[in-house]
Amino acid sequence: MTEPTPDVIAAHGLNEPEYAEVLNILGRAPNLVELGIFSVMWSEHCSYKSSKKWLKTLPTTAPWVICGPGENAGVVDIGDGQAAVFKMESHNHPSFIEPYQGAATGVGGILRDVFTMGARPVANLNALRFGSPDHPKTRHLVAGVVAGIGGYGNCVGVPTVGGEVNFHPAYNGNILVNAMTVGVAPADRIFYSAAAGVGNPVVYVGSKTGRDGIHGATMASAEFNEDSQEKRPTVQVGDPFTEKLLIEACLELMATDAIVAIQDMGAAGLTSSSFEMASKGGMGVELALDQVPMRETGMTPYELMLSESQERMLMVLKPGREDTARGIFEKWGLDFAIIGRLTDSGRMVLTWHGETVADLPIDPLAQASPEYDRPWVDTPAPAPLDEAALPAHPTWDAALATLIASPDVASRRWIWEQYDHMVMGDTVQRPGGDAAVVRLHGSNRGLALTTDCTPRYCRAHPESGGAQAVAEAYRNLSAVGARPLAVTDNMNFGNPEKPEIMGQFVGACRGMAAACEALEFPVVSGNVSLYNETAGEPILPTPAIGGLGVLEDVERMATIDLKAPGQALVLLGGPEDPEAGWLGQSLYLREVLGREDGPPPPVDLAAERRAGALVRELIAGGACDTCHDVSDGGLLVAVAEMCLAGNLGAELSLGTVQAQFGEDQGRYVVAVPAADAEALIARAAEAGVVARRIGTSGGESLTLAGQPGTLALDRLRALHEDWLPTYMDGSTPSAPDSQE
């Protein structure tokens, strides 16, 4: 084969120093297959070359962590001999091109990362960011992404129990679709990807390989092939039915002792799965690519190595177990093929009908991938908010009406009703609360799950934004009564070659690291998605956090709905001054006053931890079963959500705009019998948590003591529930009328 031309090298995304390193490693020019392999292995996506240095600063250990970053998913001990296996992953770009299939295959991919490790998936979540609702593409993207997530998750029969959605013009040209899967496995039966055992068979299972999603470089390399029309890369299409069969077949095989190592074929398909398995185990591999099950005729080794066809797995089996495995996969109607053997050569040797088509050393590719210390600059601290210079405040009820129907606060029911959130029969807290809770099958214990990030905070100050995202996940888990155990993250940023974007990444990592450390809430898995820019416009920095916690008894669980009239509403958490409140970067500022400025609320991690511990103690002790953390929109929005969920009004005393709509962190509203309020406040004082009574539940509207105006629950509900369905129907969303 001829030596690749500079054009072809560039089309494979390798820069000059990287290509020089390729020549250095091989001692010769690579052929096209080899170049393709280098290209995907050293892509940002697979090698983490820009982010590695900073990811290493995240805390990843705790006594309950069984497996941190580095495997397909993170694993934590959840007690009772069980482990939770979880991870989050992005499918941003494919979802923008083809929202249904992009989102669907995102769900499929993250499911495989989890069941690869021997866990039965028990819950899916999704963190979504779309452009402005006014942007002509947004509606179509929302519809497609939601249908795709539902289409895949519903069919595989894993409940989609939670997630988050934001709208902001910064995502107009680059939406974010981050999917998270949580699985459960026996703690002593986790499967890993390190290959072992010279001579052991390497086995391919699942769907056949087609020309799906082949690296964009294929286009450019078409000059190496005739009939390039036929070889055009194609969008990946998900087949959730096959995935369901693959889950059942893999779990069935995992119940035997046939498997040495297993790895899903995700991004960069056969290339990255085979290199990762070999590299982790310090092995060599020989693959006969002509043995790979193929969906189309005329496929080449290059295409087979780079295809991103879905629903495929690679395994190393113990010798002699091939027939057991084959029997199981054939029963489930899946392809099964022995495509190679492990060797001790430390090399990847690929053959095609007996002829060697690539011969590469494994470690230099897998481990000596480039690592960059990209230049970065800190995001300048935002100027303090000059509250005196703000425009006139509308009345509280008008402001609340606007906020409760604003795109980032409005009910997401239209979305989660398209997700089967109950299949598997263990969803004890459905979407709509602070965290979803799924019962561990056959027990009274449960897992609490949430995803969180406030990108507007992250843009204003990446470090506090990063900390806030972790703290909010911690808070959402605590608010249902769960002990927060660990997080997975999905770092979505712009072009890291720009120092200010790299600075956002570094800042967010710093904030996350500090919060994870302080809250004993380590990062056990994650994913980085960079270059989220269109025409030079970056997205808001979005380090999405997926949090997991455990509940010892799901009957001692809190929900956000007010449950009885006459209960005291108590605010736990600062500020000390009941009139004060943090308006910088608040939704009130953006949605009501039309400005995005000021610094985001600071996060006091010690206070966060004290408040979380107190709330968990109250819930576990049976002192309280109604709790909601205070986040987007501040205290009035939080209480309004509690009222709507319980279909019960409340009267509050909140004197100032700051107290009503400030977004101070580390806060929860709990409802307790009025007679218990004083004892609760005293207990909070003992625990070092600021607490005060802010009102009483009851009636059919929300009122503020001593202030005119009232919001009837029916009206509040219509505002909250109607925005998204109305928007998706295509009619102009009705602007909430400010006064009655």
């Binding site: 249908a147 289409g151 519903n154 959730p240 039915f241 598997m424 029969g425």
Partner: protein, 230 residues
């Protein structure tokens, strides 16, 4: 009572219904693989919810031709009780054990939420523990639940009292607003002529445990356990 749950490739509520059957009868049902034609003697056959064969082509169409289905039809003809929930209902219509067809939801969207149902027939082994016209709350979760049959068939079903459940609002009114999927005459479940085969789109097994938020589905399983007790 001995029950068998037929497991098709892509079934995903098989375990859920087994949990409810176990709670009602005290023992586990037989989980029977669709390709296995040797169906043991049982008092109840359950076709569970899910996406058999991915719901490709038409929901339930391919499962209706599963090897075991010939035997299921034979048993139904002998009077063995057959319960099809959601995808199971779709299979029952596709294989001709129940009339009509379940088309794409009118909204074209998958819908998962609690709905209210009015119990229209209580003289069956499935519904004997409900009161006539009782309104119950049970979830639906489907993309193709829009029940369709020609007017003559619908009239026949109504005339023979074979509409088992109808979508209603909380006070039992079968309004258009209470219809989640566009089903003709708000029909949520239908019976065979001998009243021994029931297909319904809602999932009684999903609200048969107080921790899941309700128990209105439980009487269906307790009624089966009682009326089919050997």
């Amino acid at each position: 009572m001995r029950a068998a749950v037929i497991v098709f490739p892509g079934s995903n509520c098989d375990r859920d219904v087994a949990v409810s059957l176990r709670a009602a009868t005290g023992h586990d049902p037989i989980m029977h693989w669709h390709a296995d034609t040797e169906l043991p003697k049982v008092d109840l056959i359950v076709l569970p919810g899910g996406f058999s064969h991915g719901d490709y082509l038409r929901s339930g169409a391919m499962a209706a031709h599963a090897p075991v289905m010939r035997e299921v039809k034979a048993r139904a003809d002998q009077g063995v009780a057959v319960l099809g929930i959601c995808n199971g209902f779709q299979v029952l219509t596709e294989c001709g054990l129940l009339p009509g067809v379940l088309m794409r939801n009118q909204s074209l969207r998958f819908i998962c939420r609690d709905v209210f149902l009015r119990v229209e027939a209580t003289d069956t082994p499935f519904t004997a523990h409900y009161a006539p016209d009782q309104v119950i709350r049970v979830p639906v979760a489907h993309h193709d639940g829009n029940y369709f049959a020609d007017p003559a068939t619908l009239d026949l079903l109504e005339g023979e009292g074979r509409v088992a459940f109808r979508y209603t609002d909380a006070d039992g009114t079968a309004s258009a607003a209470a219809n989640p999927n566009g089903s003709r005459r708000n029909i949520a479940g239908v019976l065979s002529a001998n009243r021994r085969v029931l297909g319904l789109m809602p999932h009684p097994e999903r609200l048969a445990d107080p921790l899941l938020g309700g128990t209105d589905g439980a009487p269906l399983f307790s009624a089966l356990a009682e009326s089919l007790a050997a």
